[in-house]
């Protein structure tokens, strides 16, 4: 068994569990805001971007896009104001890491915001927090007020000529508002509908202005990168995936929780070493590696490294780092139905394949689960599921296809059994 605290360096969770870790005073004790001072005092914006590029920091909201590259897309010649938007609408089932960052170490996020704004030439950042995260909202709001008072936010921060305002904005509870362009729409006061792309937010984003959108965890890594250097950060992870990741382990494990581990840790190690193995010594049946949208994996696949590229190569995705473990008591048709119900409930309803398809798929899986389906229903299911992905405005449709499709393809015999049971009854 690996002992987390002994062998590895924590970055984002370094203050977790400390008393009053959310307060400015505690944060300042551990070199707080020194990275911001360094960036603003000694580095040019271009140098900051370069450093982040070299660190191999990738978007930890789920897409894994190289962060420094994303910042580089902001057209500096554009005379419009630039915005930074922090995506704290953590809605992916199985994911609960950003919540801890916001509640345990909000100043790490704020320091990251300052550095990022400096790098992209923005003077205003919005933090869009999931509506249900009341405590996170309160903690972050307090931290923002503290930072204003201490001169880390506002006009001419830390004795420089740099101005920055941070606005904390709660969402209203729609999963789709975690999709970056739906988030922008929502932030602008409209219904959370994803936008057609291109243009991407870097060119036309919030209020029609160039905008960088990053996840809470991503931006929380920025200050340590500036403090300790890109090479240090890159070395922590594996190839093209710098740093650590927060893995949220839930389901049938002995020690569910948030684990900060280097990119490249295997799924087996996370489940059996860190999360204490399967509950009651039962056997693993299936595991979702990156939030409910990620295709499900079977026990023979858990030696995969948990970085973006490795998971992609086996047909799944690292996503949001939400690991949902299912033991051998799990009814996989039921699990598929729960996933399908989630998608049907959260589809924004803008474009037709996803709007109509997600509900149809749910009703169909539900019918199979309840023993009301016939063999042709199961034959139709994969085709219907497949018709959604690739045909929609945003990636939600792809998630329906990948997620629900994976249950059917990997556990088809369980679906067949439900149908057989029905045929026998009648």
């Amino acid at each position: 068994m690996t002992f987390v605290g002994l062998v590895m360096e924590k970055i984002v969770t370094r203050h977790f569990g400390e008393q009053n870790s959310h307060l400015l005073a505690s944060y300042l004790e551990d070199n707080g805001y020194q990275a911001a001072r360094k960036a603003l005092g000694q580095m040019t914006p271009a140098q900051v971007i370069e450093e982040v590029k070299k660190s191999n920091l990738r978007g930890l909201g789920g897409a894994g896009f190289p962060t420094g590259t994303k910042w580089g897309f902001i057209p500096q010649a554009n005379p419009k104001p630039k915005y930074l938007v922090i995506n704290a609408d953590e809605g992916e089932p199985g994911t609960f890491k950003d919540k801890y960052i916001l509640e345990q170490d909000p100043h790490a996020l704020l320091e990251g915001i300052i550095i990022t704004c400096y790098a992209i030439g923005s003077h205003k950042a919005y933090v869009y927090i999931r509506g249900e995260y009341l405590k996170s909202l309160e903690t972050l709001q307090t931290a923002v007020e503290e930072a204003y008072k201490a001169g880390f936010l506002g006009n001419g921060i830390m004795g420089t000529a740099f101005d920055i305002d941070v606005v904390v904005h709660p969402g209203a509870g729609a999963y789709i508002c975690g999709e970056e362009t739906a988030l922008i729409e929502s932030l602008e006061g409209k219904k959370g509908f994803p936008r057609l792309k291109p243009p991407f937010p870097a060119v036309v984003g919030l209020f029609g202005c160039p905008t960088v959108i990053n996840n809470v965890e991503t931006i929380s890594c920025v200050a340590p990168i500036i403090n300790k250097g890109a090479e240090w950060f890159a070395k922590l992870g594996c190839e093209k995936n710098g740093g650590n990741r927060l893995f949220c382990v839930s389901g049938h494990v002995n020690k569910p929780g948030v684990y900060e581990l280097p990119n490249g840790t295997t799924l087996r190690e996370i489940i059996y070493d860190h999360a204490g193995g399967i509950l009651n010594g039962r056997k693993l049946k299936a595991v979702i590696p990156g939030g409910i949208s990620a295709p499900i994996l079977t026990p023979d696949q858990i030696d995969v490294k948990m970085d973006f590229d490795s998971l992609k190569s086996i047909g799944s995705m690292a996503g949001s780092g939400g690991i949902i473990v299912m033991d051998d008591t799990t009814d996989m048709v039921w699990a598929a139905m729960v996933a399908a119900r989630f998608f049907a409930h959260e589809s924004c309803g803008q474009c037709s394949p996803c709007r109509e398809g997600s509900g149809w798929v749910y009703r169909l899986v539900k019918r199979i689960y309840e023993g009301n389906a016939r063999p042709h229903d199961l034959n139709n299911l994969p085709g219907i599921v497949n018709n959604i992905g690739g045909n929609t405005i945003c990636a939600f449709g792809d998630a329906v296809t990948m997620s629900v499709g994976s249950y059917v393809s990997k556990f088809r015999s369980e679906f067949e059994a439900k149908i057989r049971a029905r045929v026998c009854q009648t």
Partner: protein, 532 residues
């Protein structure tokens, strides 16, 4: 300019043109629900997906701009498959109640299913039930939420064109439903247009609902006679079932696209202004209370006119022409009353309260041809003087075209005039209070029964086409006038209105070089005089 190849055909289009626009130019029809050329792109229906070479994913044609060298396929197996797929999704929760749906026959779900769908149903599940079916959302439009495919054309129309913001999509996922915002009604000057742009049976027109199946309708191009804007319309009339619906022929009016005049829209005033075509018409020539033949009617007029002509007293003739008449009618009126009977007192403008207007299509001048009347029939006296003279017994003949004098000047004045006049002719299409005072009533045909031209407020000369024959004994105004002229010994020899228009073009400089052919569908602007 980018050069794009669509289904093997090449076209050069301006930068920014989308694939669907380029395809339209080539005559390649890509199916569409949410896309409408006059509305912002929404990209939500997904049926216009096409394959583009070198792009891994299919793209929606309505949003993808063409690039130089782009090669697009709109009929590959992959594309056809996606169309089926999208149709299947759109019909998952659709009630498929075509037999009782007013849109049947002009429904894009039906059309595309026949063209691109034709799959066997895979549905075994209960459909999502939506709240409002046959629900009134305003004075003219009904909403059916379960037929709606949420293309948001109506939302974008009321957001961007009328800017009245009545519609919204409420709820999420397959429970999304189109509705009116709480406390609102769809009651703006252009409400009816949402029915036109709705590709399915979700929004239907109360005025038209259940009157006629659309496949019984014939379409005739025309111009709205409701105001001086001259919006291009299509008169839609029942071509085979004359016994239906109170024997009315016209079932509805629809806007006809003309980017220079009305784009794709018409106002509600114009849209519902057609009942007069079939209702309350003057059907026969009538002398006082007696129905008479056309021959007798013409004789009656000519006898009086001839006397005045011979007595050199044509100045005892008053004519109140009308800007409701076509250019052709007016030209013939001019020939009779300003040439053959020169000296007659003539005007066409009557004091009318300005009607409703807005800064979009509705104009205060409720006549379709004021500009044409001014050019063709220069008035030689004011209308009030004509009436004054009639009242004082200084006129023997008053010839009125369609004006309801009673409504304008009151019973007293009109009955006083009627008593003093030797002959009081009312020539018009519909019965009004003036008819009972006129000595002679002549039935003229309405715009939908004649061919001709109107000149709108932009000085644009636009054609109207004959939808159907004049009702009972009514005749086009120009025909009636030329009968009189012939009887007076001055035959005009016009076979049709086209021949009259030729004469107009030859006589009146601002119309020169215009012909029915080159007016075509979009019309032409009058030439500024002195500047050929």
């Amino acid at each position: 300019m980018p050069n794009v190849t669509i289904d093997g055909k090449q076209i050069e289009v301006p930068v920014g043109t989308t694939v669907i626009q380029a395809a339209d130019k080539l005559g390649i029809s890509i199916p569409r629900y949410c896309y409408h050329p006059a509305l912002p792109v929404s990209g939500n229906c997904r049926i216009c997906m096409v394959e583009i070479e070198k792009q891994p994913k299919m793209q929606i044609a309505c949003y993808t701009p063409v690039a130089d060298g782009m090669v697009v396929k709109t009929n590959s197996p992959k594309v056809l498959e996606v169309r089926k797929t999208v149709l299947e999704f759109l019909l998952v929760n659709h009630p498929v109640d075509c037999p009782v749906c007013d849109q049947a026959g002009e429904c894009k779900l039906q059309d595309y299913y026949m063209e691109h769908g034709q799959y066997d149903s895979r549905l075994g599940d209960v459909k999502v039930k939506k709240e409002k079916k046959a629900f009134s959302i305003g004075p003219t439009v009904m909403l059916d939420q379960e037929r709606c495919i949420l293309c948001t054309r109506c939302v974008r129309f009321t957001d961007n064109i009328t800017k009245t913001h009545e519609f919204g999509v409420f709820n999420r996922g397959d429970h999304s439903q189109l509705d009116i915002y709480p406390g609102k009604q769809l009651d703006n000057n252009y409400s009816g247009n949402v029915v036109d742009i709705c590709p399915v049976g979700a929004l239907t027109d109360k005025d038209f609902r259940f009157k006629c199946r659309v496949w019984y309708l014939a379409q005739t191009k025309s111009v709205c006679p409701g105001c001086s804007q001259g919006c291009n319309i299509t008169v839609e009339w029942d071509k085979m079932r004359p016994h239906q619906f109170k024997q009315a022929r016209v079932m509805r009016l629809k806007p006809r696209q003309n980017p220079e005049v009305n784009d794709y829209w018409i106002c509600d005033k114009g849209r519902y202004n057609y009942h007069f075509i079939d209702d309350n018409r003057i059907q026969h020539p009538q002398f006082k209370d007696e129905v008479i033949s056309w021959e007798k009617a013409i004789d009656t007029i000519v006898t009086v006119l001839k006397d005045l002509q011979e007595a050199n007293s044509t100045n005892r003739i008053g004519v109140l022409a009308s800007a409701q008449l076509t250019n052709e009618d007016l030209f013939v009126v001019r020939k009779l009353f300003k040439e053959t009977l020169s000296g007659a007192l003539i005007d066409f403008k009557l004091p009318q309260k300005p009607g409703d207007s807005d800064n979009f299509l509705m104009k205060a001048d409720k006549n379709p041809n004021t500009a044409g009347a001014s050019k063709i029939l220069e008035a030689n006296i004011g209308e009030e003087q004509i009436l004054q003279k009639a009242k004082q017994g200084e006129l023997d003949v008053l010839y009125v075209f369609g004006h309801d004098l009673v409504k304008l000047f009151g019973k007293e004045t009109v009955s006083q005039m009627a008593r003093r006049l030797k002959l009081f002719v009312y020539q018009g299409s519909n019965i009004n209070d003036t008819c009972s005072y006129a000595h002679l009533n002549l039935p003229s045909s309405v715009y939908a029964e004649k061919t001709g031209t109107f000149t709108n407020c932009q000085q644009r000369v636009q054609r109207i086409w004959t939808a159907f024959l004049p009702l009972v004994e009514s005749k086009a105004d120009w025909e009636i006038i030329s009968l009189i002229s012939a009887k007076l010994g001055k035959p005009m020899n016009y076979q049709n209105s086209q021949a009259i228009f030729k004469d107009i073009a030859a006589t009146i400089p601002s119309f020169s070089e215009m012909t029915y052919e080159n007016l075509s569908d979009k019309g032409m602007i009058l030439k500024v005089s002195g500047n050929p």
